[in-house]
């Protein structure tokens, strides 16, 4: 019966072809661009809006997409509680590097921010905090003088007001275009954290994907508690460079979040969906009586 039905279908199709004057060609539907995004890890097509609602996490393989500073804040702190600080600190081109100014403009457009670091005060489930977020859309979240200055001033503000401090890092490292000035920021931010530490206040550093270079080697690794967001790459130099330098195979899982946890570089790995809850728990445990917003 099955074959009979199939034959009949073919017969009908041939019949229709003869009596129909012209054959209609169906073009694929032209869907709007950017409606679907490809997952970097599993390659699945994700509906953009669905991805946004799911905290920029792939619903199929749990891969955590990179996230801009504003979106990060909206997922973490209490709605409407953010008060931005130092918005006008911007980069110049002290070493007159070619293309640097163009790159800054591009970074501003892609991130919607003036620099790669967004900071200010906010409340997290009612607890007042000083918070800063690096945005990898702005020149890979690289740290130059402006970023370093903002980070430092944030830390100093938190020191002065005895606020708990949370910094989300996502960076390729120090900003090459500013040479030694960028590298100096590593020392500057670390020094500011030393004074903060003397005040016995809590600093939680959240390392997101990727946190590398001068940022990883300075303030990002100096938290009282270092949290890695799930599936983050954390390291100093690039894996390939290390391999070529030491001329050895790298261990499996090198520079992944799990690897760093095992080797004591970070204290915990937190899934993006649990981040706000976890930060609240830690703040609640560690801070004494503070004024709430």
């Amino acid at each position: 019966m099955n074959d009979f039905l199939n034959n009949r279908k073919t017969k009908l199709e041939d019949f229709k072809k003869n009596i129909r004057k012209k054959k209609t060609n169906y073009e694929p539907i032209d869907i709007p661009d950017g409606l679907f995004v490809k997952c970097d890890q599993c390659g699945a097509a994700i509906y953009e809006k669905a991805l946004d609602i799911n905290h920029l996490i792939c619903p199929y393989c749990d891969y955590h997409f990179r996230m801009g500073a504003s979106k990060r804040l909206s997922l973490t702190i209490d709605q409407g509680s953010f008060e931005e600080m130092f918005p006008n600190i911007q980069s110049k081109n002290p070493l007159n590097m070619d293309d640097y100014e163009d790159k800054i403009e591009k970074g501003k457009k892609l991130s919607g921010l003036n620099e790669a670091f967004l900071c200010g005060t906010a409340s997290l489930v009612g607890i007042k905090i000083a918070i800063g977020v690096l945005d990898s859309n702005f020149m890979m979240g690289s740290m130059g003088s402006a970023v370093g200055e903002k980070v430092t001033r944030l830390i100093e503000y938190a020191t002065e007001h005895s606020l708990p401090l949370i910094i989300f890092s996502a960076s390729g490292g120090a900003r090459m275009q500013e040479g030694i000035l960028s590298l100096m920021q590593m020392a500057k931010t670390s020094a500011a954290l030393e004074y903060f530490d003397q005040k016995k206040c809590l600093y939680i550093s959240v390392l997101t994907n990727p946190t590398t270079g001068g940022v990883a080697a300075s303030f990002a690794s100096l938290g009282d508690i270092n949290i890695a967001e799930k599936s983050s790459l954390i390291g100093f130099a690039g894996a390939r460079v290390i391999k070529q330098t030491i001329r050895q195979e790298l261990p499996e899982g090198f520079q992944t979040d799990v690897f760093q946890l095992i080797h004591g570089q970070i204290d915990m790995i937190v899934h993006r969906k649990d981040m706000r809850k976890t930060l609240y728990k830690l703040l609640h445990l560690h801070h004494g009586k503070q004024e709430t917003l």
Partner: protein
Amino acid sequence: MKNKILIANRGEIAVRIIRAAKELGYETVAVYSVVDQNSLHVKLADEAICIGGNHSKDSYLNMNNILSAAISKGCNAIHPGYGFLAENSEFVEMVEGCNIIFIGPSSKSISMIGDKAKARMIAKAHNIPIVEGSDGVVDDAQEGLKIAKKIGYPVMIKASSGGGGRGISIVGSDEEFLSAFERTAMEAETSFGDPSLYIEKFIDSPRHIEIQIIADAKGNVVHLYERDCSMQRRNQKMIEEAPSTILNDLLRRRLGMASIKLAKAIQYVNAGTLEFLVDSKGNFYFIEMNTRIQVEHPVTEAITGIDIVKEQIKIAYGKELSFKQRDVKIHGHAIECRINAEDAMHGFTPTPGKIVNILFPGGNGVRIDTHIYPGYEVPPFYDSLLAKLTVHAPTRREAVKKMRIALEQFVIEGIPTNIEYQYLIMHNLDFIKGQYDTGFIARFNTLVEAGTNE
């Protein structure tokens, strides 16, 4: 470009939609899982494309694959049928985002009224009676008592994690309440591991009455009268009929008006069904709204003469309803029996397998909606519906007689089905008298199992 519709479903409803689309002159594309490659809907459609593995989640529930199929094949509309993705507002949003027509209501309507709790609130806001309840878990007996007093006795105390008729107590007064609450909590703890309870007004011998509505994009809403779907086994419908034996004209008009009011309030477009419970005193209570075409739509088509699926397609492509409320009348009586691949005589176990041969009944007022054919292999991965047998006659008495003969003449060779079981029901005195409620099948089943034949 000519209109081309992708049918995102399988089985008898896919066949139904393909027929309606072809009658309207539109091209059709069928989708199928690997095991369904020889299914009838694949053979009847103009084109077909495989969309995934056998399990529903890999194929008929795979939004990406179905959408990609529609886009690649150049389909400008998708009909979801019933079940699967028909009421998945995320899927509908994706379809809308791709500028493809979804043959059904908007994703906004679906998420608004598809949520049971939200639907109840909307109904309440429009003075449509709902089954009063605690709106969630009741923390302790005292709170429960307050709610019970407010709702009015009798009330049902139900286990939140419950099912299968367990963890339910019916309480008739304040005095009984506290001990019943404690008792039910303990029963819930032991049976389901969760002692949390909620409260609902108890409706005595309810009938499940649903109203079919259809609306176009211009705001015209028409109701197509009711269907009585009280013949259920474990909340699965077995037999449906229209009109209902317990509605008088006044009640019918009130239900119809309430349905239109709600549909207009949410600016609903396309076909939908509002479910109500009606008690022995003629009080009706809104339960929920189904934002899709339903399995039992043939009985409504029979008594009104309106092709609902065709209207769905026409509305989706922007046409206005071709009729007004005053044009719709009830003609005669229709009964539908669902024929399933299950061994009704032995606990309703599913019976997938090869159908060796079939003899379909026919004649005046006998309609079959099916996807089975001689030699067809019923796969074990999906629901057990094989066919819908609908009869239409001038009176209910004649309809029952016609159904008996049709069931007698319906032969499916190769796997056990529930044809015999349905035949027995057609001879049951209570059913013949039209006196039954949602508890009928459960009681009938005990008779059948005991070997007696009423």
